[in-house]
């Protein structure tokens, strides 16, 4: 009895179930039919539209450029798209910065380096509806070739660098397609701090930028920074070459630390170990001993300092100078400061566009300097600081906050962002620094400052082997390891001096930026080894 009941129940259940299943099946079948119908319709539509599309040869994704053909086609630079080119039909290769479709039109902003231009695809006798749709769907940052007519615009286009014209696109081909999702948006990456906060717009933090450096480097700001940096190197070389300097190349793998052993990278070198050069110091001096008279060197230098600050990197580009002088090391200071002034002038006169581009995102006052460059003595600086309430000893080195404060005091008093601080206490300088003949507590050494931060450290070097040995012993340096260096002074060495400048710091401080990573293309610091 009980069994039957149970059976009955299950039968009923089964029946119900099968009913349900049937319904479900039916529904699914209907759905599938509908779907098929839709697809058929879509396909038919597509076919018909494809057939209808009179412009189908005027757009599309190009085959990968594998150098199949040598097209005799001139690509005009975005920078050159000005009123002079109005009504010309020409080809441009650029990135799609943004695109927005509006009915029968699609507006694109095409970008090439730090320049951009507005372009337009509109349904008409040159472009079809499908072409506009295609243009609107091109992913941001894709590279496209467009053929377009340059047209004058009534109202200036404020958001673009080419404000007086726009491009009316007749053909558009994708040369390289970007993935639809970008790790960061370029517009977010150039937004000045604090701007757009009310609208809740994003800014990109530095680590995200550096993690995706390739994209970050495309921003107008980055483009301007690194063009200016290249200018600094160029001006440095040109000025020194004109002064009769010789460019030298020095080894970066060395056997002994040049300035104190604590902050050098050790690398394994076959069966022994070697160091990465902290500066070309010893080599440029040896070149002086080898009668090169005036030398300079542009290359990487390494510091194994575990300091995570806004102005320290573990690898940076050093601009090093060393020169023989006649009677007084101020000849060297004058030569270096003149070089710096030539660089500042060259940047001011030839890189105004870049400076203003950077200023848009990171506003700063224009860089000021005097001619001839202001030279203060260390003791004067200490007096200025004491007057401002800073307590410090006569032979104490300047701390970073005090350096910055001094920069402000100097700016207020002399109205310059660049000055030389001369006659540092001997105790805070490396062993090869020449002591001051008038006061043995001081030395013939100097630092140079931009906006209150050190960019160069230099000195007259000891060119006498005896005195050099004495100074090295005083600093408890193993004479065996620097034997070759000391020996190079035994066979006649001219009095000489020099200094080393950090390229990244010069760019950072000239532009009034706040972090040296902004002026290092692929920065290396204790926490960053990639990209």
């Amino acid at each position: 009895m009980i069994k039957e009941e149970v059976q009955g129940a299950t039968e009923e259940e089964q029946q119900a179930q099968s009913k349900k299943a049937l319904k479900k099946q039916q529904k699914e079948a209907e759905k599938a039919a509908k779907k098929a119908e839709k697809q058929a319709k879509l396909a038919a539509d597509q076919q018909s539209t494809e057939e209808d599309d009179f412009a189908k040869d005027r757009y599309g994704v190009s085959a990968m450029v594998q150098s199949q053909q040598k097209l005799d086609r001139a690509l005009v630079k975005v920078e050159d798209l000005t009123l002079e080119k109005v009504d010309q039909l020409l080809w441009v290769r650029a990135r799609v910065h943004t695109s927005r479709a509006k009915g029968k039109q699609c507006f694109l902003v095409l970008r090439q380096q730090q320049f951009n231009v507005q372009a337009l695809v509109a349904v008409g006798d040159r472009a079809s509806k499908q072409m506009v749709k295609f243009a609107a769907n091109i992913t941001k940052e894709s590279i496209v070739d467009v053929e377009a007519v340059v047209r004058r615009v009534e109202q200036k286009i404020e958001s673009c660098s080419q404000q007086d014209i726009e491009l009316h696109i007749e053909r558009i081909f994708v040369i390289s397609q970007a993935e639809p999702r970008l790790p960061l948006q370029l517009d977010d990456a150039v937004r000045p701090d604090g701007e757009g906060e009310e609208e809740g717009r994003a800014t990109v933090n530095q680590d995200t930028r550096l993690d995706n450096r390739v994209i970050d480097l495309r921003t107008t700001t980055s483009q301007a920074i690194f063009r200016l940096q290249s200018g600094v190197c160029q001006l440095f070389r040109d000025t020194l070459t004109k002064k009769g300097f010789v460019e030298i190349q020095t080894p970066k793998i060395i056997s002994a630390a040049s300035e104190g052993g604590a902050n050098v990278f050790t690398v394994s070198y076959f069966k022994t170990s070697a160091y990465l050069a902290q500066s070309p110091q010893l080599y440029k001096q040896m070149c002086i001993c080898a009668d090169f008279d005036k030398v300079f060197c542009v290359g990487p230098v390494f510091r194994a300092e575990d300091s995570n600050t806004h102005r320290h990197l573990t690898e940076f580009v050093g601009l090093d100078i060393e020169m023989a002088f006649n009677y007084h090391y101020h000849e060297v200071i004058d030569s270096i400061t003149d070089t710096m002034v030539q660089i500042f002038k060259g940047l001011r006169d030839n890189f105004q566009t870049e400076i203003q581009t950077v200023n848009k995102q990171f506003p700063s006052e224009p860089f000021k300097f005097l001619e001839p460059t202001l030279r203060l003595e260390f003791q004067e600086a200490v007096a200025m600081l004491r007057e401002a309430g800073v307590e410090m000893g006569d032979e104490e080195d300047l701390s970073t906050p005090n350096e910055k404060l001094l920069g402000r005091l100097v700016k207020e008093k002399y109205d310059t962002d660049f000055y030389v601080l001369d006659k540092y206490p001997l105790a805070v300088r490396p062993f090869y620094t020449m002591p001051d003949p008038n006061n043995p507590k001081y030395s013939n050494s100097y630092d140079m400052f931009m906006r209150g931060e050190e960019i160069l450290s230099g000195a007259q070097r000891v060119h006498d082997a005896e005195l050099l040995t004495e100074r090295a012993l005083h600093h408890q340096i193993d004479l065996e390891k620097i034997k070759a260096y000391i020996d190079s002074f035994r066979y006649g060495a001219p009095p000489h001096g020099g200094g080393g400048i950090g390229l990244e710091r010069v760019c950072m401080l000239y532009l009034g930026l706040h972090n040296v990573r902004q002026t290092s293309m692929f920065p290396r610091d204790p926490k960053r080894l990639t990209p």
């Binding site: 007057e387 309430g389 906050p401 402000r408």
Partner: protein, 173 residues
């Protein structure tokens, strides 16, 4: 601290005979045992008494309004300024800076006990400020520098160096 401040005040007021003080409780509240009356307890109470004794009532403020303002700042000093945390001091300095924007002294045009009290209260803060911060709170700094140079007032406290020109806000815009 409070006892030193009171003896410094006595000297400023020109009281010949120094008083003897004791302290009371954990917070070391100063107590003055008066010869012909009950003991006076508390920094403000004792200080007001000393001012009266020196026959310089103007230090307690001119008119009813002036007196009220002085009392208000004496109160502010002992309740808000004393024992404030580091975060609070910044807010306090900001508040004082905007209050002093159009004033030479805390209560109008003459020095009062309020200035002396506030000078003692802000001294340790001012010593710790960087040059840039002193410039940020420029009105406080101006007032402070003025008060520390009033004859006989600074006494045992160290002078704070103050720059007369601004070095952080640029005039080159």
């Amino acid at each position: 601290m409070a006892l030193r401040e009171l003896s410094s005040l006595e000297k400023y007021l020109g009281l010949k005979k120094p008083n003897k003080y004791t302290t009371q409780g954990d917070r070391k509240v100063p107590v003055l045992q008066n010869n012909n009356g009950p003991p006076l307890v508390g920094l403000v109470t004792v200080a007001c008494h000393l001012v009266k004794e020196s026959k310089r009532p103007e230090l307690l403020g001119d008119g009813a309004e002036g007196r009220a303002v002085v009392q208000q700042w004496l109160e502010y000093r002992v309740t808000k300024l004393d024992g404030s945390s580091k975060e609070e001091t910044r807010a306090i300095l900001k508040e004082l800076n905007s209050y002093l924007e159009d004033k030479v002294y805390f209560a109008g045009h003459q020095i009062t006990l309020a200035d002396i009290f506030m000078y003692h209260g802000t001294h340790s803060l001012m010593v710790d400020l960087s040059v840039q911060e002193r410039e940020q709170f420029v009105n406080v700094t101006r007032w402070f520098d003025h008060v520390q140079h009033v004859r006989g007032l600074r006494h045992h406290l160290t002078p704070v160096a103050v720059l007369r020109n601004r070095i952080y806000t640029s005039r080159h815009h």
